[in-house]
């Protein structure tokens, strides 16, 4: 039986002093033993070090071989700390942070799902961790087999003929995808000059297009939040190389006209690029390759739960239809006879767009992603999408009426509210986000997509329990009420964090981007 003692964090609900400044937030946030901590460069003492190394053998003086002007004795400014001081430093820093391991992290389109500990342990097996990327193939069959199997699985899951594992992140995958599209058109005699992008697109889409020399044409989504074939048809001509679509889009809405849109673009010789950031909604339920997408990047750090690490590293494999296979970047993994090998020679793949990064990819992430796919199996993968969509719709049902829903259209794994209801009282989306922190949750994505005013984009993911969602909804309802009754009090938020709202204007006007001796910021 859940929660047998009936204990819940105490939230101050009465009007007057303390209202809206909960003792413990609805998700349990309190204050803890959290210490101030200076930079490593501001502590320590000359002569200290925190490592244990072999002796430097005598008679090995670099100055006998390397010219003096190319040498320095020591790197000035480096800290001098013992090991315990370093351990305390980073332990304390970690305590100022919030992770999925800490609590709810409903960032829309980021897919902040649990990062499995077993995936982590497996990636750290010595055979994977200590494998040099340039080992002879005979010495790296484990790594190569894993890559081959992952490639086959991703291609099957996305409905593509083949997948490159090389790109380092989603945006890097977009770059690869657009390069392949360009190479395809060049091979057909004309690179073309334009790329069509809906107004709901993530900023990396137009940036990736521009990096390939394309100008972007923005397409307006309909009042239902969907891209309509007529809009695409009006913009489509023989100078358009591709359309870039996220499906479901950044409103969480499935682009149900995708087949027709793909036909419109294909009919005039264009290609359809899929931004797979929201693939979590479709796992095992529908495949982009079956919808008309010619190329799509996966985000292993989103859909396949490799850790976000405070902003990276990621991994952005790209699946392609048969027609684009010749253009895949190098290297590729092939299964040959009884073993596996990497194709690195352009002579074997003359149409390849070449190399996009050093070595063959973020192999550490391949191990983690493959471990998750192995653990989920076909039913588990499908369950991911089912529960992700159930969780998001449950939150949507719980928050409507309290926050304004700009589109009535069905949503899948994420939902977007606007600030219409809160604006009446003078509260902003930012105020709502910051107060949510005091309750004990990371805020949702805010102010994106741009088509929604003061957007709040919520993606719970499938690894969150009903209880967590109930607490989140309760916190949000509390904030919505506060926005009506006492909006000014929201501006004080966050109040329980180690720092209150930080001056971002000052950071941009007078940038201080590294420590310098005697540095003062006040």
């Amino acid at each position: 039986m859940p929660n047998p003692t009936g204990w819940k964090p105490k939230v101050a609900r009465e009007a007057g002093e303390g209202r809206g400044r909960p003792e413990a937030g609805a998700l349990g946030a309190t204050r803890g033993l959290v210490l101030e901590e200076p930079l490593v460069f501001e502590q320590g003492s000359p002569g200290r070090s925190g490592v244990s190394l072999p002796e430097v053998p005598p008679g090995a003086d670099p100055a006998t071989e390397i010219p003096a002007e190319l040498l320095r004795a020591e790197v000035e400014g480096l800290p001098e700390m013992d090991e315990l001081a370093v351990v305390r430093h980073f332990t304390r820093l970690s305590q100022w942070n919030w992770g999925i391991d800490s609590g709810f992290y409903p960032l829309g389109s980021c897919t902040m799902k649990y990062n499995p500990k077993s995936s982590e342990a497996l990636a750290r097996l010595s055979g994977f961790a200590n494998a040099h990327p340039l080992l002879p193939a005979s010495m790296a069959q484990g790594a190569l087999e894993l890559m081959w199997r992952l490639e086959r699985a991703l291609s099957e899951i996305g409905g593509f003929a083949a997948t490159t594992l090389s790109p380092a992140a989603g945006a890097h995958g977009e770059l690869a995808g657009l390069m392949m599209i360009r190479a395809y058109h060049v091979a057909h005699g004309n690179p073309r000059r334009k790329v069509l992008i809906p107004d709901t697109a993530h900023g990396t889409n137009p940036a990736s297009a521009a990096l390939n020399g394309y100008s972007t044409v923005e397409l307006e989504s309909g009042s239902d939040g969907r891209l309509h074939p007529e809009t695409v048809a009006r913009a489509m001509d023989e100078d358009v190389a591709a359309i870039m679509i996220t499906n479901p889009n950044t409103l969480g809405i499935f682009e149900s006209h995708i087949r027709e849109i793909a036909e419109v673009v294909h009919a005039r010789g264009g290609l359809v690029y899929g931004d797979g950031a929201n693939f979590n909604a479709l796992l095992g339920v529908a495949r982009p390759g079956d919808m008309g997408f010619d190329v799509m990047q996966y985000n292993l750090h989103k859909t396949f739960a490799t850790p976000h690490g405070g902003g990276g590293p990621g991994s952005g494999p790209v699946g392609v239809r048969e027609t684009l296979v010749p253009f895949l970047p190098l290297p590729l993994v092939l299964s040959e006879g009884s073993g596996y090998r990497l194709v690195t020679d352009p002579a074997e793949r003359p149409k390849s767009i070449g190399k996009l990064r050093e070595f063959s990819g973020n192999a550490g992430m391949f191990v983690r992603a493959w471990a998750l796919i192995r653990e989920l199996g076909p039913e588990g993968l499908r369950r991911v999408a089912e529960l992700a969509v159930l969780n998001a719709n449950y939150v949507r049902a719980g928050l409507r009426g309290h926050f304004n829903l700009p589109y009535e259209t069905d949503t899948l794994h994420e939902v977007v509210f606007d600030d219409k209801a809160q604006k009446e009282g003078g509260a902003t989306t930012m105020d709502v986000a910051k107060r949510l922190i005091d309750h004990g949750s990371h805020p949702p994505t805010v102010y994106f997509p741009l088509v929604v005013h003061g957007a709040l984009m919520i993606e719970p993911t499938e690894t969150e329990s009903k209880e967590t969602l109930d607490q989140f909804v309760e916190a949000m309802r509390d904030i919505a009420a506060q926005a009506q009754e006492d909006p000014a009090s929201l501006q004080a938020a966050p109040e329980k964090t180690i720092r209150a709202r930080l001056d971002e204007t000052r950071a941009a006007r007078k940038p201080v981007l590294r420590w310098t001796p005697g540095m003062k910021v006040d």
Binding site: A73, H132, I157, V285, G311, E358, E464
Partner: protein, 446 residues
């Protein structure tokens, strides 16, 4: 399934709240014709016990019993256990990009420390919060140079890591920019006469390794002077970052941009990725620098804190006018490097660098004793190319004994007949003097 908490009762209650009769109904916006109505063709689910057995089997088929003698852009080093144990803290590990600074001060302060370390190592004023890897960081530096100078020709040393050169070519493919290669000399350094001839008023950047792909400490000051005289930027590229513990900083020697990877600190080889690329440059170039940047500021109570700043260079604001499309950085690997550098400190880094130099020297002496000369005469750090006869055969022979001997350079430089016999090998603090002796003897054979 242990990651999916939903009980049948949970699902029933939640569906009721949604007003849906089944989970399938929640997908009604997907046309039936697009629905996948068969299970995915992937292997059946494995429990954790089977999973470990399966992956141990795969890992065992990578031969890593002995530390590899391969460098060539990824270096085997000892990572102190404190690094992993701190990096694995869930608050670092499972955190997102620090867009909400009040709940991300840990990540942000660590990034500020990373940026400072990069500046101290490279001798340049500003650094970003890390890049995907050394090769893409270098390609982005080249693009920045073309933007800053308005010029469209780039001169690259043939002694720069071949993979980095290929990535530069890929990134520049659609720009129409010209990439000119300058050869290396018998000393393994960039040929300065050829460089002076290649650099002109159309040159945006000169790019060279420091140390370069052959492990040779290249002539950075003279190359930078040639570039400066023509109004071009000098990009110094470092793949073995431990070398910066005893080499003079690129900034002090005239580099305008320093890129490369800090994989040597805090990160194991991981079959080539992920690893933290770095990017540092002069203060004047900061608004053209790609990638995220952490900056110091104060909160409303006047307490110092950190935020991501200068965001208007980036894709989520500038969109098609961004300096780059880069979004994700290499945060966790950068954190690992930051922690390792904090543990090393001033004296520890100096010692590690001198130790690596000593091991590199021991390797050269052992190879000399076994009858193998170095291919190049220039000064090296911990890596060098040796003339071993048939380098491919040596690599294959030692592989059968479970020893990763190095990289046979003939495949990377097919046009240079003298490279066929050249083997590029490294020795670091993880290679004991005994192992080095054994290696040289093994190369000699049988």
């Amino acid at each position: 399934m242990r990651y999916h908490p939903h009980t049948p009762e949970d699902v029933r209650a939640m569906l009721a709240a949604c007003g849906a009769r089944s989970v399938d109904e929640l997908f009604r916006s997907i046309p039936e014709a697009l629905r996948l109505r068969r299970p995915l063709d992937v292997p059946p689910a494995a429990d954790e016990v089977s999973l470990f057995a399966e992956f141990r089997g795969l890992a065992a088929r990578n031969q890593t019993d002995h530390p590899p003698f391969i460098g060539a852009g990824a270096y085997p080093h000892h990572v102190p256990p404190a690094v992993d144990q701190l990096v694995l803290r869930g608050e670092f590990f499972t955190a997102y990009t620090p867009y909400q600074p009040e709940v991300s001060q840990g990540t942000l302060q660590a990034l500020f420390e990373w940026q400072t370390f990069v500046c101290l190592l490279t001798g340049l004023a500003v650094s970003n919060a890390s890049m995907y890897d050394g090769a893409t960081a270098t390609a982005e530096a080249v693009l920045m140079a073309t933007r800053l100078t308005g010029r469209n020709k780039v001169v690259v040393s043939a002694a720069l890591h071949p993979e980095y050169r290929k990535v530069i070519a890929t990134y520049l493919a659609s720009t129409g920019d010209e990439v000119v290669s300058v050869p290396y000399g018998e000393d393994g350094r960039t040929d300065l006469d050829a460089l002076a001839k290649a650099v002109d008023s159309r040159t945006a950047a000169v790019v060279l390794g420091y140390p370069n792909f052959f492990g040779v400490v290249d002539a950075l000051p003279k190359a930078a002077a040639i570039a400066r005289a023509a109004g071009a930027l000098t990009v110094s590229v470092t793949a073995e970052a431990v070398s910066l513990g005893l080499l003079q900083s690129p900034g002090a020697l005239g580099a305008d941009v320093a890129t490369g990877t800090l994989q040597s600190f805090g990160n194991t080889l991981n079959f080539g990725g992920p690893a933290p690329g770095f990017f540092a440059t002069r203060e004047a170039n900061v608004r053209q620098m790609p990638g995220r940047i952490a900056g110091a500021t104060a909160d409303k109570h006047g307490r110092r804190g950190f935020v991501l700043t200068l965001s208007t260079r980036e894709q989520h604001i500038r969109r098609e006018k961004a300096t780059s499309n880069i979004c994700t950085n290499s945060g966790l690997t950068a954190l690992a490097a930051t922690i390792h550098l904090s543990l090393l400190g001033k004296s520890g880094l100096s010692r590690l660098a001198r130790l690596n130099y000593a091991r590199g020297r021991a390797l050269r002496l052992a190879m000399q004793k076994a009858g193998f000369k170095t291919r190049f005469s220039g000064p090296t750090f911990n890596e060098a190319a040796f003339e071993v006869g048939d380098a491919e055969a040596v690599v294959e022979r030692l592989a059968k004994r479970g020893i990763a001997a190095g990289v046979a350079l003939g495949r990377w430089y097919p046009k240079d007949p003298r490279m066929k016999g050249a083997l590029l090998s490294v020795a670091t603090e993880v290679h004991t003097p005994e192992l080095i002796e054994l290696f040289a003897e093994s190369v000699r054979g049988p």
